[in-house]
């Protein structure tokens, strides 16, 4: 996420791991699909929001997590 912000990606949704941006293998299949849907809905929300520069659209309860890669 820090890279996305540094190179200037305008709308950023942080996820839980580099190898699985739209998943989370720690969850059950049903929970994982619900998490993925929430991520995509958050991304759609970002797409309908005006931004002036790199902006992070954190997930509720997941927002403080900073990716390093």
């Amino acid at each position: 996420m820090s890279i996305a912000r540094r190179v200037g990606a305008p709308r950023i949704v942080p996820t839980r791991g580099i190898p699985f941006p739209t998943g989370d293998p720690a969850l059950s299949p049903e929970e994982e699909r619900a998490w993925r849907r929430a991520l995509v809905e958050r991304a759609l929300e970002a797409l309908t929001t005006a931004v002036a520069g790199p902006t992070v659209f954190a997930m509720d309860g997941d927002g403080s997590e900073e990716e390093t890669g």
């Binding site: 190898p19 993925r36 809905e41 005006a50």
Partner: protein, 342 residues
């Protein structure tokens, strides 16, 4: 008389704006638009015999377009091709640079002009490119530079930084009486003295991207899925690179509801692909995106996804992919894209 052909995009040829970006190659007699001023600046001894033009989406996105444009240029038996100025327009700049490279390969003297941050600068493969301003309001001084450089090229000489040259020049081996150690120490001393510019190896520059305006009505918008996660059909039939990608690919989704494990794999070389191969939706969220299209949350999904490998990718290639993806998505009717990044 030096016969000059001038290449411009659809806008500067007077054919229209984004609505005409898909138009194919065409030819106009004599100079057009900025070509009129170019012809004045070139002056006696030069004649702009034709203007060749093409829509930016077509020229940057359709593989045969560059060859077709070069064929139109060659039909004029030119002594010189002048392309641009393309300012910071990404698609236009890529096309001007590719034309410069193709003309050079075909033995036609050429010079293109664009802003130093234009991704096209990295595409010229050593063909001459000179600096232009940020936008068309800087047409005047940009044409001054371009015309002066064109005269140098037409005379059979090589343009240099003094002529406004930007980008990678063809590397030529020479001998120097100042060994590397001496030059390195001199550069270090210059830096300590406050010189922050001098270098023998210019680093890639990150440009600033102006965010696109928000999508007004998602229920009417087609959304595309794109990824740099290296997700390709099983077996990687098109041999996408696992690192330092030079290409991107488009694969059909054909209305499918989801990606079947075993039919797709990630060939990304920068992380363990075990989880991606177990469930490709961890890279490309087609299942939930399809559901959101079916329930009307979004107007539709693009019928293909775009993919490359983001692993040690050069800045130049990444910028080119971005410009090409934007053109491809626009042509496909997509209004927004979700790019999953690994």
């Amino acid at each position: 008389m030096t016969r000059v052909v001038h290449y411009v995009n659809q806008f500067f040829a007077g054919k229209g704006g984004e609505d005409a970006a898909g138009s194919g190659p065409g030819r106009l007699e004599g100079p057009t638009g900025p070509g009129r001023r170019l012809a004045q600046l070139l002056g006696d001894g030069f004649e702009v015999v034709a203007t060749v033009h093409c829509g930016d989406d077509d020229a940057s996105g359709r593989p045969e377009a560059i060859d077709e444009i070069i064929a139109l240029v060659q039909a004029e038996r030119p002594d010189l091709l002048v392309a641009g100025p393309a300012f910071t327009s990404g698609r236009y700049g890529l096309v001007c640079a590719r034309l410069a490279a193709a003309a050079t390969a075909a033995g036609i003297p050429v010079v293109a002009a664009m802003h130093p941050d234009n991704p096209g600068v990295d595409e010229a493969k050593g063909a001459p490119v000179v600096a232009a301003g940020l936008a068309a309001r800087e047409m005047g001084p940009s044409l001054d530079t371009l015309a002066a450089a064109a005269k140098v090229v037409a005379a059979g000489e090589t343009i240099t930084a003094a002529d406004g040259r930007v980008g990678r020049a063809r590397r030529v081996s020479t001998t120097t009486d100042r060994p590397a150690a001496v030059r390195a120490v001199d550069l270090a001393l210059a830096r300590l003295a406050g010189d922050r510019e001098s270098t023998e190896i210019p680093l890639p520059r990150f440009d600033q991207v102006t965010p696109a305006p928000p999508v007004e009505d998602l229920t009417q918008a087609t959304v595309a899925l794109v990824t740099e996660g290296g997700l390709v059909p099983e077996g990687n039939p098109d041999r996408l690179e696992s690192a330092r990608a030079t290409r991107w690919l488009r694969y059909p989704l054909d209305g499918s509801e989801g990606l079947v494990a075993g039919q797709y794999q990630s060939i990304h070389g920068g992380f363990s692909t075990v989880w991606a191969n177990e469930d490709p939706h961890r890279i490309l969220p087609l299942d939930v995106a399809r559901a959101l299209a079916s329930d009307g949350t979004v107007g539709g999904l693009s019928d293909a996804y775009l993919v490359t490998t983001g692993n040690g990718t050069s800045v130049g290639n990444a910028r080119r992919f971005g410009v090409e993806w934007a053109a491809d998505l626009r042509r496909s009717g997509a209004r927004a894209a979700i790019l999953t990044a690994t």
